[in-house]
């Protein structure tokens, strides 16, 4: 039976930084001191106003293809994950297909999920290869969540950053690569992370663009991202342990069998507690959130590449990727890192 896995990966971050000091000037020192000690985020990368998520994904993909000399004609499908697409239509993956000069006999589709987009895309890439539809799949992520935030909303501005990634999924030696996936949804929490206006349920209007101040002094309109932080926190500390347990049972492994746990980098406080609750020792974890913020769906591939560059990800290692967030949605996978992996692409930073 065919086995599939991650052969190569890269990420790309915009160069503009929104620093702790910038936010102290905007929101006041005491409030930001709490954010720094709580969320553990010091700096975020912010895309310029004319940069889209697809531009970040494109930059990551070009670097991946060029660094490893991957022939463009070998790509049979491109999956672009984003919640900040170029247009309502066409599918942004079709635009990226053209920009990346991929062949015509290449599938292209978008996945509209947030924090869980990457692991979902991996499961679909895995399925496309297992079904014989594709041999190599390019999984791209890219979002500019900072463009959805109201600059005076202290509940979200300190948390989010922009970023993109590219991964090549292909065949690996038998018994290596993806061992199993765990995917789940709780739509009853869809209102906890939401941009209410701008779709077809609530088109943009004068009313939707009206700014309102909440009880904590945060300003936003219905066209901005809203997050109920406490509800998302509750979701994370209850669903993540259950998801991991289900995933491990599904693949007949225990926490002790996994070499490295790479979780969605929502914020350090949440992750520290979840790791503690799951009794996962610090040496089996990796963080990359303090200097870049929560990059939404790109956070898992970005932390994965960073761990790979730091030689925590290596052939033969058993790696667990866990994501959770907007939807509410969750997705996890366990894979044995393949012997034929090409490697991560060094960063430009």
């Amino acid at each position: 039976m065919t086995s599939t896995g991650i052969l190569a990966a890269s990420y790309f971050l915009p160069s503009n930084r929104l620093t702790h000091e910038d936010l102290e000037n905007r929101f006041g020192e005491p409030a930001m001191k709490k954010v720094l000690s709580g969320a553990g985020i010091r700096t975020r990368r912010v895309a310029a106003p004319d940069v889209c998520g697809s531009d970040l994904a494109f930059a990551a993909a070009e670097r991946l293809l060029l660094h490893h000399g991957i022939p463009r004609e070998s790509i049979d499908a491109v999956i672009f994950c984003t919640q900040t697409p170029d247009f309502l239509l066409p599918t942004t993956a079709c635009i990226l297909h053209e920009r990346l000069q991929l062949k015509n006999r290449c599938a292209a589709l978008d996945i509209n999920l947030g924090c869980t987009q990457y692991v979902y895309a991996l499961s679909i890439a895995h399925g496309l290869i297992l079904s014989g539809t594709a041999k190599r799949v390019l999984v791209l992520t890219g979002d500019t969540m900072t463009r959805t935030l109201h600059p005076k909303d202290r509940s979200v501005v300190p948390l989010f950053g922009d970023g993109g990634s590219a991964s090549l999924i292909g065949e690996v030696p038998e018994g290596q690569g993806f061992v199993g996936f765990e995917l789940g949804t709780d739509g009853s929490g869809s209102q906890y992370l939401m941009i209410p206006a701008g779709g077809f349920r609530m088109p943009k209007s004068t009313e939707s663009g009206t700014e309102m101040e909440d009880s904590e002094g945060n300003v936003r309109s219905k066209e901005n991202l809203y997050m109920n932080g406490a509800a998302i926190f509750h979701f994370a500390i209850t669903v993540v342990p259950e998801m991991l347990q289900n995933l491990l049972e599904h693949v007949h492994l225990g926490i002790e069998d996994v070499d490295l746990f790479l979780f969605h980098q929502a914020n350090k406080y949440m992750l520290d507690y979840v790791f503690k609750k799951l009794k996962i020792p610090p040496e089996k974890t990796h963080f990359f959130v303090t200097e870049i913020g929560n990059t939404s769906g790109s956070s898992v591939p970005i932390v994965m590449v960073d761990a790979w560059l730091n030689e925590k990800v290596k052939p033969g290692a058993t790696i667990c990727l866990i994501s959770f967030g907007v939807g509410l949605s969750w997705a996890g996978t366990i894979l044995r890192w393949p012997e034929n992996a090409m490697g991560p692409v060094p960063t430009l930073d």
Binding site: S155, N228, G229, A230, A231, H234, I237, Y273, K277
Partner: protein, 77 residues
């Protein structure tokens, strides 16, 4: 954990000396009762008492006594 021990640990979450927090203290009157200490309280209750208290339930508590009533089932007295 007793009611008093819970109150002491809750005071610690708020960064207050234990004697500055009474059972009838109104949470909304405390400067340190903010979104960060709110999450820390959820962690305290989940970690020490094994109750994943939903935020819409937690927000019904107006005083320390109200908060204790929500977790009373896991306290010793």
């Amino acid at each position: 954990m007793t009611r008093t021990e819970f109150k002491e640990q809750f005071a610690d979450v708020l960064g207050l000396p234990p004697n500055e927090l009474n059972f009838d203290t109104v949470l909304g009157s405390l400067e340190s009762w903010d979104s960060v200490s709110y999450l820390a309280t959820m962690v305290l209750i989940d970690e020490r008492l094994g109750i994943a208290l939903r935020p819409d339930v937690l927000s019904t508590a107006k005083t320390v006594n109200d908060l204790i009533a929500l977790v009373q089932v896991k306290l010793e007295d």
